[in-house]
Amino acid sequence: MAGDGDLPARSPATPSGPAGAPAVTAARTPGAADLPPVAENLFSWHDGTPRLIGSACRACGTLAFPQQHSCPRCCGEDVAGTLLPAEGTLWSWTVQRFPPKSPPYAGEAEFRPFAVGYVALDGGIAVQGRLTGAPGLDGYRIGMPMRLLIEPFLRNDGTVVAAYAFAPCGTGDGDHPEADDDRGPAGAPGEGSAAS
């Protein structure tokens, strides 16, 4: 499930949005969107909404994150970049209550505990991420509706980058833009825009 960190530049960053949809819009959320990302090709903006960049197997439809150049399920190498759905439900969580050793941890020197978990996105993939926005560090519950967001991440070298996280989003707000666009049947995945 690991990213193929040594592969050349990732082609899915080429805009190839769903038919009729603009690949990238200018309607970005001010703030975090203007910060340099913690890593290239990790997330992107689509109609003003952040989306994680994954990959989808053209043979079996299996999704992976971060994007990789082969399929962890069918072993095929015909995969393409895709935007993952931005919403899902909390699969499980914990709280990182002690400072992780640095390196590898690059967060601010004055450690603040944070929640972390997996969000099961539509399309059959669960993504690990920092959690934010609940009332209290232990205010998360399995099954909670969650939504991707981009937030500033203060590094221990004093710089600030943009990182992804998930926050509770309540239910019934009806705001599920294109939730299904990027996880169609075999042949369809990989059409999503992943311009960054």
Binding site: M1, A2, G3, G5, V38, A39, L42, G54, T62, L63, A64, F65, P66, P72, R73, W91, S92, W93, T94, V95, Q96, R97, F98, P100, K101, P103, P104, Y105, A106, G107, F114, V116, G117, Y118, A120, G124, I125, A126, V127, Q128, G129, R130, D138, I142, F153, R155, A163
Partner: protein
């Protein structure tokens, strides 16, 4: 039935911080004890397999043990290193290449949680930057979900740790030998919800060595023979939830522990319900409970009753982690898997002293490690 490998001698260097001693020094001490236990000397050893994650190259032990020219293979497979070493030794003997060998595992780690680097695990740097390259997170997340699905309570998690410390008290080679009441374990500082400080093992130092031989030679040594009836190892399949995974499929598949255990049972012709003593990886309390079910030793969710009734205590119907496990011994990565085998051999020989399981004839061992590997063994008298 004698399987394809036998244990002729065992040696351990006690686990703990072991300040002032290197991992290699501990390994040599354990090797000399194992040789003495088998009534052999180093030149009798035809091949060796050694594992260490952080304490140096095992084959450099020949400098201290003697330059006999033997082939010495180094193995490194995370927390499953001991299991992989045993598998390697079995292959050497089953192939007919050698008849007597030494398997050794040792380690020594810095204080605090492990600090793995993303690039060593096929991951990009951002994963570590954001603070997700932390094993304790995985353990907390996995047991949190398991408790949700199977009705396991925090009290059961605390009972696992309390049992570990009680068993550790009876084990001179253990590190944490002071019993702790369940309330104190539950009330200790939260580390990775729902797991508290005393539910976790800590990285430590220690060493274990085994003299292994062809089963046809097993009765030539001083101690009662113990046979390795099966040894197996598996890596992860699509659908298992593993440490250091930025993502995973929502649909669950079999875990490496489940598949390694089933392979071992099939090879040995001995399975759940037939083991007198069981050792499973308990990097924290939740792992012991989940691994029991993944290995088919209980139903999912049955752990709550097992812990409430003391079924896994020494004296219960299925004693688990009789030497105190990782929780009482700490985790020297290269040594832990062989510690389980060492304990099982002691139990099957009837040499386990205050923690002896009466009349133990069969045993099972299980290790699990990053990035989703498991190794199991079945042993019998």
């Amino acid at each position: 039935m004698t399987g394809s490998l036998a244990i002729a001698g065992i040696g351990i260097h006690p686990f703990g911080r072991n300040e002032g001693q290197s991992g290699l020094q501990m390994a040599v001490a354990a090797a000399r004890k194992a040789l003495a236990d088998a009534g052999l000397s180093w030149p009798d050893i035809q091949f060796a397999v050694g594992g260490s994650d952080s304490a140096g190259k095992p084959d450099t032990m020949v400098t201290r043990l003697g330059l006999t020219g033997l082939p010495f293979t180094n193995v490194i497979n995370g927390c499953a290193t001991g299991g992989a070493s045993l598998l390697t030794a079995r292959a050497a003997i089953a192939s007919g290449t050698h008849e007597i060998g030494l398997v050794v595992g040792f380690d020594k780690h810095a204080r605090g949680a492990f600090d793995p680097r993303p690039e060593d695990w096929g991951l990009d740097g951002w994963y570590g930057d954001l603070g997700m390259m932390v094993t304790t997170q995985y353990f907390g997340i996995k047991i949190q979900r398991y408790m949700h699905e199977h009705g396991i309570t925090s009290a059961s998690l605390a009972r696992v740790a309390a049992k570990a410390f009680r068993n550790g008290e009876r084990n001179p080679a253990a590190w944490r030998r002071k019993p702790l009441p369940v309330d104190e374990i539950l009330g200790s500082a939260m580390v990775a919800d729902p797991l508290t400080r005393y539910m976790f093992c800590s990285p430590s130092a220690g060493a274990v060595a085994l003299v292994v031989c062809h089963p046809g030679l097993a009765t030539r040594f001083p101690a009662p023979p113990v046979y390795v009836r099966a040894v197996s190892m598996r890596s992860r399949r699509f659908g298992s939830f593993e440490v250091f995974s930025p993502s995973m499929p929502v649909t669950r598949g079999p875990s490496p522990s489940q598949e390694a255990a089933q392979a071992a049972y099939a090879e040995a012709g001995i399975g759940p319900g037939e083991f007198d003593v069981v050792q499973v990886q308990d990097t924290e309390s939740g792992a012991e409970l989940m691994h029991l079910a993944e290995c088919g030793l209980c139903e999912h969710g049955a752990q709550e009753e097992l812990m409430a009734t003391g079924a896994t205590e020494i004296g219960g119907p299925m004693p688990v982690n009789t030497d105190g496990g990782c929780i009482a011994s700490g985790e020297p990565i290269g040594a832990s898997g062989l510690r389980q085998v060492y304990e099982t051999v002691l139990q099957l020989r009837g040499q386990a002293g205050d923690r002896q399981v009466d009349g133990a004839r069969t045993g099972f061992t299980h290790v699990y490690g990053a990035p989703g590997i498991s190794a199991c063994a079945v042993l019998s008298r």
